[in-house]
Symmetry: C2
Subunit: 149 residues, 2 copies
DNA sequence: TATAATGATACCATTTTGGTATCATTATAC
DNA sequence: GTATAATGATACCAAAATGGTATCATTATA
């Protein structure tokens, strides 16, 4: 199967969780891991990774946690995938040209590159802003009587 | 890295090799493996797989080999990828919905599905006919023997 | 009948994956 | 100022996937 790995999926869930909070909210690993069903120790590592990659600010010590370092509008799914998973290469040789001794005479190569670009392009256009908005809509069932609580 | 695996790359090379021959040509594993730099025992397995998947006809016995079972114009890169590698899922849950307990309330899901469709769509449009034609064009280097055909 | 090809499949070492555990550090709450 | 609740960093692990080899059986030709 050609798929992203579990960690990448988890990271996306985590960032989405952050993006769904009011701006500036600090979230603890515990909370996010429970809410988005990510195994806690793995969530620990992923939060760290996302912080090191510049997506999150960390707040250490009691009462601490993580908050977004950038606006959800400026974080794309592509960035997260590549931060966790490494490049979207599609074929190894698009990223390590020395890998394939045929590269100078390989007509398939160009198509792997183009397909990769198509995919990267799409993922690059998906922002966590969009995702969060989409998430919130079905959450508050439009309740004309104002009984949300 | 998000990539196809080596076997898939090899399979594509092999099918391209076939597609570049005059229609109906029978090719031996030895020959193709050498020409496209695929380790021989692995090439054996891949030819078998491609034959079982309906891409190739086999000719057993001395003087045998493999030939295309379908026109190169009707074989897409996508089909080969999925035959060797399994589905282009992008995220596991697009193919095994029970995988993710969040699927009913996961706004990312839809984007994985769409991104996957974009990728599958592109790969589905690349035929080995095109690839073979593109391969032959730049072959302007005069062949030591007979030249172009 | 010897030979040259594929069919099928078992085997293997290495890497990747998904996950856990631990100890160190930091900041708050009281 | 100390107990506590959080992150930082990293080591560890089992299981699966990956990339590759080897072997024996079968088939058809020369
Ligand atoms: S060299 Fe990149 S696909 Fe052949
Ligand atoms: S359920 Fe498919 S991405 Fe969340």
């Amino acid at each position: 199967m050609l798929t992203i790995n579990r960690k990448t999926d988890y990271a996306a869930r985590i960032l989405l969780h952050l993006a769904m909070q009011p701006p500036g909210t600090t979230v603890t690993v515990q909370e996010a891991a429970q809410a988005r069903l990510v195994p806690y120790p793995l969530a620990r590592r992923l939060f760290s990774l996302l912080a090191n990659a510049g997506f999150l600010k960390t707040h250490r010590g009691k009462g601490g946690g993580f908050s977004l370092a950038r606006s959800p509008a400026e974080i794309s799914l592509l960035e997260v995938v590549e931060a966790v998973e490494g490049p979207v290469a599609l074929n190894r040789c698009t990223v390590e040209p020395q890998e394939c001794p045929l590269v100078s005479d390989c007509p398939v190569h160009e198509e792997w590159v183009k397909a990769r670009d198509v995919l990267r392009d799409y993922l690059g256009r998906v922002s966590f802003q969009q995702l969060a908005e989409r998430a919130i809509q079905p959450r508050n069932h439009p309740d004309p009587r104002g009984g949300a609580q």
